[in-house]
């Protein structure tokens, strides 16, 4: 009988007894769709930045004049590292290696957290320098964009801690590691946003 099969569906595949949808399991579709809305959110922030900057080019200091490039370069590097550790974790659990998964996840959490730490350090120094949100367009856009990116990283770290906890309790297997893949997508997206931000905010 069909239902004996349906009873143990391959959860990493589209729902079995349904029309063929996106061809992957629901959580993955959902995350990609959610990322769509995230794209639009950052478009509002980054777009406003571009528009304001084009209108008032002189309101921005030259690269390195105000912002501390070396520190953020390190931070960028950190985020890239966390991305690769994340994807390594995913690869590990694809092979059903739970211990490796746990290790890579912990690494990701730590690196992600340190990114936030560095950003807080950067903020405090900038504020000491008198570079504050109310300083002008420069400050307004800078803190809003990087701040909300940092907020996303923080959220990511929190979810990641939850996933790590589940990994620690051996909830993920080669057959079902949806949580790992889905949080990974989010994490890489946040990394991707930073890649854009780093260029347009710090280097241009």
């Amino acid at each position: 009988m069909a239902h004996s099969l349906a009873a143990v569906p391959d959860v990493m595949q589209p729902p079995p007894d349904r029309e063929f949808g996106a061809g992957v399991y629901n959580e993955k579709v959902g995350m990609w769709i959610f990322l769509g809305s995230e794209v639009m959110f950052f478009t509002a922030l980054i777009g406003s930045y571009i528009i304001l900057r084009v209108a008032h080019p002189d309101a921005w200091a030259a690269p390195g004049k105000m912002l501390n490039i070396p520190v953020t370069a390190v931070n960028t590097f950190l985020l890239i590292c966390s991305s690769v550790t994340m994807v390594k974790a995913f690869a590990a659990i694809q092979d059903g290696n739970q211990r490796l998964l746990l290790r890579w996840l912990i690494a990701t959490v730590l690196i992600g957290a340190s990114f936030v730490g560095v950003q807080i350090y950067e903020y405090t120094h900038l504020i000491e320098k008198g570079f504050i949100p109310s300083e002008g367009l420069y400050g307004s856009t800078f803190y809003t964009m990087t701040g909300f990116h940092g907020f996303h990283v923080t959220m990511g770290v929190l979810c990641m801690i939850y996933v790590t906890w589940k990994a620690f309790r051996r909830k993920y297997t080669a057959q079902d590691h949806r949580g790992v893949e889905v949080i990974g997508l989010y994490w890489h997206f946040v990394d991707l946003v930073w890649i854009i931000l780093f260029t347009i905010v710090y280097l241009i």
Binding site: A6, P14, F20, G30, F34, S140
Partner: protein, 612 residues
């Protein structure tokens, strides 16, 4: 018959997941009715919430209408209850009036019509109509509702804070909204922002859920082009919400920062741009107005086909029209900014795109007419409202064409002509469709029939008084009567319009009173309505094959779909409807059995993970 265990994403890594059990349900009252993950309960929860806010929006409108109809006169009742900051000795104050306008618009758009269309029917109809056990992410769904409620009450709280509620219009134009020194409103303005950010999050979670569900959980045989138009429109609407809402959130966050931590996004002194706010707001705002009409169009289509006992006319073009509106809707926002000082050349392009967008709407209108043509029209209450929807939307749409022509908009922009337009599309369009939809699916939701007689009384009173209220507003606008003014008599050239304003107000009070009939009918039918049975309207949709109200988990066995939802008066059967899941004996000309899910699930052409 294979019973399938509904497997809508059992506990993913994140907050996703949650499992619906089709077998007997043993949930506590709290999990069943309050923190339920059942899309049907959540839909009904949304219904009650948004009807309450609709009522509130109506009350605010009545207060406005009193001031406009009887300027400077103390409120006939309850005026004493209002604090001095709102009404001095019962006479509404200018600052309170601006809050009234703002909050009337805000509540109606964000907390009444939007949740009514998307929250209620998105939730209730999608899984039932596509043959799914529940939403793809039931717990996310619950979260979305329990974010909307606090947002609503937060917005409500604004009335009771120091300095009164937000008073910069529902469009909250900066700098008025950005700097409390200009508006005299501080806390209220911030509450407006925070509340809408929360609501935005709620709607986005909802949209993710709807889109995923429609893509992933369609029952076998429910191809894209067998989906009911209500589902199609809800799908496109969800996409609009998904992409438009975050832009509003982003803009509002910047506005909030301008108000609180002194940023300069929209404040000119240090280079901020008031027009940037308008661009961001309307980039969200125009898709938003289509969010407010598309589901209405879709559900009206379902009901008109049913009422006419005839297949919908031009199903494919209806679908394409929905999609076209969904896309074009992103390229027209500038038509709200013709007078804003925006680059005039930009104005020309926006004018053309705006005019073009009326074509898909035209297609829909004509197809509705085509559906009724040579039909066998039953005038049940939902059908009456659906017909009113068509005729009133046409008026609203056509008045839109006047403003789309930029030179004419020079004159009518920000006059009551706009107010007339927006009420013809939002009340005459959306709200009539909502009345239609509520009365249509009420039996399914509560298992009881609403009173047809009182339904008809409510319909006719609403229809007549509605036109008495909003049609003359066109004339007001043509005489140059501006929007959002507390007392038109300040202007000599508007004084002679006072009688018309008074007439409008009196009609408005009657209109409001007529709504009490609906409220009473709605509530009393819940208790002493006649049992509905499975399929009171003899409809083809999958939801009507279920008992009313449907059990938790909906379908005991996954239904198989053999045809589109509009097979009324089909020659294949002697009764005049043919449910989507009825299998006919293979006779010549009979629609063939559904194709098996294609392409075959396993093995996937591309493995969905980098394994090869």
């Amino acid at each position: 018959m294979a019973t399938s265990i509904p497997r809508t994403g059992q506990g993913g890594g994140m907050a996703f997941g949650g499992d619906a059990h089709a077998h007997h349900d043993d949930r506590t009252f709290l999990r069943k009715y309050i923190f339920s993950t059942d899309h049907k309960i959540i839909g009904i929860q949304f219904l009650l919430m948004s009807l309450l806010f609709l009522l509130l929006g109506g009350v605010l409108a009545m207060l406005m209408r009193w001031q406009l109809g009887f300027p400077g006169q103390p409120l006939p009742a309850g005026g004493g209850m209002l604090p001095e900051t709102m009404a001095a000795r019962g006479v509404i104050l200018p600052e309170f009036y601006t809050s009234l306008v703002t909050m009337h618009g805000t509540f109606m758009v964000f907390f009444a019509i939007m949740p009514l269309l998307v929250g209620v029917f998105g939730n209730y109809l999608i899984p039932l109509k596509i043959g799914a056990p529940d939403m793809a992410f039931p717990r996310l769904n619950m979260a979305s509702f329990w974010l909307a409620v606090p947002a609503g009450f937060l917005m409500l709280s604004g009335f009771f804070v120091e300095g009164g509620h937000a008073a910069a219009g529902w469009t909250s134009y900066a700098p008025l909204s950005a700097n409390s020194e200009y508006s005299g409103v501080d806390m209220g303005q911030k509450i407006w922002c925070v509340s809408l950010i929360v609501l935005g999050l709620s709607s986005i979670l909802g949209a993710v859920n709807y889109i995923t569900t429609i893509i992933q959980l369609r029952a076998p045989g429910m191809h894209w082009f067998r989906l009911p138009l209500s589902i199609w429109s809800l799908f496109v609407t969800a996409c609009l919400v998904l992409l438009a809402m975050p832009v509003l959130s982003g803009a509002i966050i910047m506005l909030l920062f301008d108000q609180t931590i002194g940023t300069h996004f929209f404040l000119p002194p240090k280079g901020g741009q008031p027009l940037l706010w308008q661009h961001l707001f309307w980039f969200f705002g125009h898709p938003e107005v289509y969010i407010l009409i598309l589901p209405a169009m879709g559900m009206a289509s379902d009901i008109i086909a049913n009422g006419s006992r005839k297949p919908i006319f031009g199903y494919t073009s209806m679908v394409l029209a929905i999609i076209a509106i969904g896309f074009l809707g992103w390229g027209v926002w500038g038509h709200h900014m013709f007078m804003s000082g925006m680059n005039p050349t930009l104005g020309t392009t926006f004018m053309i795109s705006t005019l073009l967008i009326s074509v898909p709407s035209a297609i829909k209108v004509f197809n509705w007419l085509g559906t009724m043509w040579e039909g066998n029209i039953t005038f049940h209450v939902p059908m009456l409202h659906a017909i009113a929807f068509v005729s009133m939307f046409v008026i609203g749409g056509l008045s839109g064409v006047f403003m789309a022509a930029a030179p004419v908009d020079i004159y009518i922009h920000d006059t009551y002509f706009i107010v007339a337009h927006l009420h013809y599309v939002l009340f005459g369009g959306s709200l009539f469709a909502i009345f239609a939809a509520v009365t249509y699916w009420y039996p399914k939701m509560f298992g009881k029939l609403m009173s047809e007689r009182w339904g008809k009384v409510h319909f006719w009173l609403t229809f007549v008084f509605y036109n008495c209220v909003f049609f003359p507003m066109h004339q007001l606008g043509l005489q140059g009567h501006m929007r959002r003014i507390y007392d038109p008599n300040q202007y000599e050239y508007l004084r002679h319009l006072q009688p018309l304003n008074t007439f409008i107000s009196i009609s408005a009070f009657c209109l409001f009173t007529a709504q009490i009939i609906f409220a009473v009918n709605f509530i009393s039918s819940w208790f002493r309505g006649a049992p509905a049975g499975n399929n009171p309207w003899l409809d083809n949709g999958l939801e009507w094959t279920l008992p009313s109200p449907p059990p938790h988990g909906n379908f005991a066995t996954v239904p198989t779909v053999y045809r589109g939802p509009y097979e009324y008066s089909s020659p294949l059967v002697e009764e005049d409807y043919l449910p989507q899941d009825r299998q006919l004996p293979p006779s010549p000309g009979a629609p063939r059995a559904p194709a098996r899910p294609q392409p075959p699930l396993m093995p996937a052409p591309h493995p969905s993970s980098p394994t090869h």
